[in-house]
Subunit: 319 residues, 2 copies
């Protein structure tokens, strides 16, 4: 009988789900996340969605050997989560809860870590010994993969690259309450913030001047067209992301450095903006990891969750 695992990516509004054999993905779909008032049913929602899809594909239930889950928050080495604000989920052991319900090995990890694992093992960095990924969206997430395993850290804050302080002199506050986090400069929100600040405080001439609804995309397009504010916002992005990545090079020294998330759609200009600063801040390194763009898009999280499911399977002696 063919063996399957599921990779589940739990977000605040949707749950992305993938069903995999050892060689391919046989289904990718999504279901609505339970509302905060019904979050105690999260695990039933996941189980029911998996069984419904398996019935549809005529896959017997006993063929499902393990489930991996990505969750929007820190997950400690023993699988514990604190209160997860985006879901309304209380402090608990989500892997164990799903395992009790389904009777097969179930494991959980941080969602940015799962995306990094997916890209490292099946995507942009496939075949590499080690990779780091930064996910640039509304916020900035990160994940570190060495020999096909996530470095989640002893207390679950490994790979929290968005909250590394790159500018101790910053006066504005980050969402986390600190000041000067990478997220304030390299997220989509941060890039727009930089552009607005340049327009307001430095009165630089720009095609963006009369744009009341600035987005990361319009700022990046302006940069590509040679607009001074667009270029300067891109340079601020590159400087702080490059500084943070220089820390990654001089600690982990990964084979590949992956840029993913919505912002990465801007493409190669991001890679160029970052490379010059990484080089400047890693003077001692003769060689360092190549910066590349993510290739799996939204699917990275389910792919990474499937990877930890296969690992759990092997540990349980099932595959």
């Amino acid at each position: 009988m063919e063996r399957y695992v599921a990779g589940v990516d739990v977000g605040g509004t949707t749950i992305k789900m993938g069903l995999f054999t050892e060689t391919e993905r046989v289904a990718l779909w999504e279901v609505k996340s339970p509302s905060r008032s019904e979050v105690e049913h999260l695990y039933e929602v996941i189980r029911d969605a998996l069984y419904a899809k398996m019935d549809e594909l005529a896959i017997p239930r006993e063929a499902l050997k393990a489930v991996g889950m990505g969750l929007p928050g820190p997950v400690s080495a023993d699988g514990h989560i604190p209160w997860l604000v985006n879901l309304g989920l209380g402090a608990s052991y989500p892997g164990k809860e799903l395992e009790t319900l389904m009777g097969i090995p179930c494991v959980a990890g941080n969602d940015a870590n799962m995306a990094a694992l997916g890209e490292a093992v099946y995507g942009a960095a496939k075949g590499a010994k080690s990779a780091v990924m930064v996910t640039l969206g509304t916020g900035v997430g990160g994940g570190i993969v060495v020999d096909g395993k996530i470095i989640a850290g002893f207390h679950g804050v490994g790979g929290e690259l968005g909250h590394i302080v790159v500018n101790p002199d910053e006066t504005a506050a980050c969402n986390c309450g600190n000041r000067g986090c990478l997220e304030q400069y390299a997220s989509a929100t941060g890039i727009v913030r930089s552009a607005r600040k340049l327009l307001r405080e430095e009165k630089m001439p720009s095609v963006l001047t009369d744009d009341d609804s600035l987005t990361c995309k319009t700022v990046m397009e302006a940069a590509k067209a040679g607009d001074p504010v667009g270029l300067k916002a891109l340079d601020i992005f590159g400087r702080y992301l490059g500084l943070m990545l220089s820390y990654v090079v001089l600690t982990i020294d990964p084979e590949k450095i992956i840029i993913g998330g919505g912002v990465s759609k801007a493409g190669d200009i991001l890679v160029d903006a970052v490379n010059q600063y990484i080089d400047r801040y890693t003077h001692i390194a003769e060689n360092r990891g190549e910066v590349i763009l993510a290739t799996l898009g939204n699917e990275a999280g389910t792919a990474g969750a499937a990877k930890i499911a296969w690992d759990a399977c092997r540990e349980a002696g099932e595959a």
Copy 2:
């Protein structure tokens, strides 16, 4: 027959050597490093010193199963080194060279990494899942250990914590040619530099004012006695080391953070100076690794080299 490995710590002036069984160290001694003009004999010097000691202890040569070596420079994952300036050793594969000479598995790693491995596995962080060590001496070295293995990095610059840029605005140059490296503030030399700068530029009143031969030790003693310049130099040390360690917490998130090297003799005031800044810069982390002082001193490097020797042994199916 009892099995042995050797742990060798190669420095510019001396080679420290240790001979170990699986449960204890049976000898610790040192020999003179070959001069630059005779560095091609390095491997014979090591072999001869090992055989001489084994003869002395009446240990048969076939009982020695592997040798681990720490070297003062980057060692890549496949065992390659570039030109090592402190030894005058050219680009090569030192492990393979010693292996050819001795006919048993021989492996090499960076010396700061070996010291970190020694402290993580046998010393201050014994029993911990993961540990990071910073070695504060004339320069600043580092090493990252996860599950008893060094993260040396794909290009050999993993754990180069002393050359992480903590102050991009610095105008003075580091030994590496860059500006603003941690080493400029947290090494023994860096601490003296900070104190001199405070005396010269800020004319702060201090017991150190008329001390022409300032050392790290006198600055630390002044800090312990409440002297303003001593306290401020200690604060600069704590701020930059704490900032760098905050990066380590948010990437690797180790269980323990070890401070070693000559500077660490100043003791608990260093731990206190660093802790407040790590907390400030890791706002998002509910918990993080405890900062502790190294316990093995000069022996850490040979202990770590013995650890990689045992690993090489096991890989070769010999233990």
